[in-house]
């Protein structure tokens, strides 16, 4: 499923969607950036509560297709501008990380 379709289907709030047609395959949950860099796979949805500027670089470098901020975490404007420049999709879920993952599991 594409990043845009996944967000629409589950009612995730779109914060940055510069690459809407990107396919989402699989999912990784984590907040420690090095861990994510090393373990997340290409095209994964990455679910995190980390919302600082560094998530944009980590998402771009690890080739995840979508960042889902769990628990309604809101990044600042700077993060979203950086994400758009780096072609990183970011959405926001009201649910905790685990429940967000459970909800999308059959779509990714």
């Amino acid at each position: 499923m594409t990043a845009e379709s996944l967000a629409a289907k589950h009612g995730f709030k779109v914060l940055a969607m510069p690459d809407p047609d990107r396919t989402v395959k699989g999912c990784y949950i984590g907040d420690l950036l090095s861990w994510v860099m090393g373990r997340a796979r290409q095209d994964n949805a990455w679910i995190t509560i980390m919302s600082n500027i560094n998530i944009a670089a980590v998402a771009a470098l690890s080739d995840v297709s979508l960042v889902i901020l769990a628990e309604d975490v809101q990044p600042d404007e700077n993060v979203l501008n950086t994400a758009k420049a780096k072609n990183v999709n970011i959405v926001c879920s009201p649910l905790p990380a685990y429940e967000t993952a459970v909800r999308i599991t059959s779509d990714v």
Binding site: L33, N54, A57, A60, L61, N78
Partner: protein, 141 residues
């Protein structure tokens, strides 16, 4: 010496806002060179870890990436405090990062292990009080 392309980056120390800029730029460069996604991913991750280490521990430094016909060489050079115990630093989960750094999501103790995992060869030259030079190689094809 065979022909190679050099990409040089100055890594700004203590600036977590722009941390990763060199790695992101290098990733773009590698895409333009037509390298495979797997090679790009390996080099990007290893370089990012090195770049973050230089920001966290060494007040910045220099990163050079040399692209040869058969390999990519990443050289990270800093004038930081050096690594006291390399064996310990290579252990997953070991970190000397402070709480501020950890709050940003760094300091997982995966930096050097990831650099080793994603490259074919990692050489660390370090002198306590003088600095650290890390040379990593990823073979193409």
């Amino acid at each position: 010496m065979s022909e190679f392309l050099n990409f040089h980056f100055d890594v700004d120390g203590d600036n977590f806002v722009s941390a990763g800029q060199a790695s992101v730029q290098m990733k773009k460069n590698m895409r333009q060179l037509g390298l495979s996604p797997e090679i790009i991913r390996k080099v990007s991750i290893a370089m990012y870890e090195g770049e973050i280490n230089m920001v966290i521990h060494a007040h910045g430094g220099a990163a050079d990436v040399n692209v040869y016909e058969d390999r990519i060489e990443i050289i990270l050079d800093d004038k930081g405090p050096g690594i006291k115990d390399i064996d310990l630093a290579m252990q997953e989960g070991y970190s000397t990062a402070n709480d501020h750094v950890r709050a940003l999501g760094f300091g997982a103790g995966m930096g050097l292990p990831n650099m080793k995992r994603y490259t074919d060869d990692t050489q660390i030259e370090t002198v306590v009080g003088e600095g650290t030079k890390i040379t990593m190689i990823v073979y193409l094809g």
